[in-house]
Amino acid sequence: MSEVLLKNIYLTYPIYGHKLSIKSKIAGVVGGGINTDKKKYHVEALKNLNCKFVNGEKIGLLGHNGAGKSTMLAMLSSIYPPSSGELTINGKVQSLFNPGAGLEPEESGLRNIKRLGLLLNANINELEKNTDEIINVSGLGDYINLPVRSYSDGMKLRLCFSVITSWKSDIFLIDEFLSVGDNAFYKYCKGKLEEIMKSSSIVVLASHNLDFIKSFTSRVLVLKAGQIVFDGITSEGIKFYEEKY
């Protein structure tokens, strides 16, 4: 039984080696609050998050740039630990955040399949068995043998998406990423996501694409400056988001 529980979660991260001007302090309209001490700045990325995701839920995250959507997903995938609060995750988590991350530009797409699999803790034997299918699904054809530096953003996305969706997980986290893919791949992604939605117990999807959120989610969380300002059914969440932002 998969479950995600967030109780009084705060996440603050330090910024080293940068100075903040008074002007930028006053003028900043996006992102979480910024505090300073003598040595460094702290960004309050998430503040007092309380929610619970249970089996079968498909959750959409909405919010302006810097609202905390990506940080929340990174925290759920255990990349960023919360500064305080209680985070409980039951189930195997898989995530797709930045399609270029982890890829080695000088290596071929084929070698990068193994590399990504290792970084994502995939079962390598299973991954090797599925390699032909991954190549087929990615639609990269002969490009699979060329170095990744010769790929467009869309091609990198195809590669990453094909690798990541080649095995099952209980909790699937996806950050805004479909904007770089072409129409054909967008359609493919939609189809694949529907499959994932059926096989994964919990899906959390961050996007600015309201149609996408509408098609795939049943519940929406709207974030503002690191706080949840709305938590409810998708139709009401989108209405709230459109009215307020």
Partner: protein, 258 residues
């Protein structure tokens, strides 16, 4: 304390794959690949053995002394300099993937060991040409030397990697240290050329010297000095625990530093 290291050993494929990528990247589109390492150090050592043999009073096995010392120093220098990139050059992995951080340090050790193995044939080539036999019973001491050097390399890659991610000046500092220490460490010269007082201040506190001795003396047919064995054992133990303590304490922060 060693949870991260245990996990990285159970997922050793990550470290091997990252090291293999580094090797392929370093020698891509070259005809001789990593054998350039053997050739370039071989040429350097040959020219140095000729020049230094003339400049200083040459002893019977000076060339082998120079070759073994230089091979180990190259390894130490490579580990130290590449350690400054342990986390910085893999910022995307550190930020977006949930992997044990010690995997990145292990990949540096694997990479440096691979290069070291390409330098190793030089020992046999030079011993053949200078008619020094390097095969002897004291090579058994390598059973101590090799693990100690590897363990220190891992700890260094981790520790220097963390320090450089937080304080970027460390990169230049390490670069300076390795450039200077090749002259201050007995590699081109023997400690016996210094008086006892100078040895006490210049040679005994030099940790590079003791690690080099662990590897060099068995190939010269001698036992490493007990002092070198004790010093390296203490240093290896200290840096191993300290690096893992740093890893435990600052593991959560490394993502913000890179």
């Amino acid at each position: 304390m060693f949870k991260d290291l245990q996990e990285s050993l159970s997922r050793i494929g990550i470290a091997i794959e990252l090291a293999k990528t580094d090797i392929r990247k370093s020698y891509t589109r070259t005809a001789l690949g990593p054998f350039w390492e053997t050739i370039s150090l071989g040429i350097l050592l040959f020219l140095m053995s000729v020049l230094w043999g003339k400049l200083i009073e040459i002893k019977e096995n000076y060339v082998m002394y120079l070759v073994t010392g230089m091979i180990v120093f190259r390894y130490i220098s490579l580990i130290l300099n590449s350690s400054t990139w342990t986390f910085i050059e893999r910022a995307d992995i550190v930020k977006y993937f949930n992997i044990p951080h010690s995997s990145l340090a292990l990949s540096k050790v694997i990479y440096a060991s691979f290069i070291f193995l390409h330098h190793l044939p030089l020992l046999f080539i030079f011993s053949f040409f200078y008619q020094n036999t390097i095969l002897n019973f004291n090579l058994i001491y390598l059973l101590y030397s090799v693990p100690v050097i590897l363990l220190t390399s891992y700890s260094t890659a981790l520790l220097v990697g963390f320090l450089t991610a937080r304080f970027r000046d460390i990169q230049s500092l390490i670069n300076t240290i390795t450039s200077v220490m090749i002259f201050f460490t007995p590699i081109l010269w023997s400690p016996s050329r210094l008086d006892v007082k100078a040895q006490l201040f210049l040679v005994d506190p030099n940790i590079f010297y003791h690690y080099i001795e662990l590897f060099r003396q068995p190939f010269l047919g001698n036992k490493p000095e007990l002092f070198s064995i004790v010093i390296t054992l203490l240093f290896t133990t200290f840096i191993f625990f300290f690096a893992n303590w740093i890893l435990n304490k600052f593991s959560n922060k490394i993502r913000y530093w890179v």
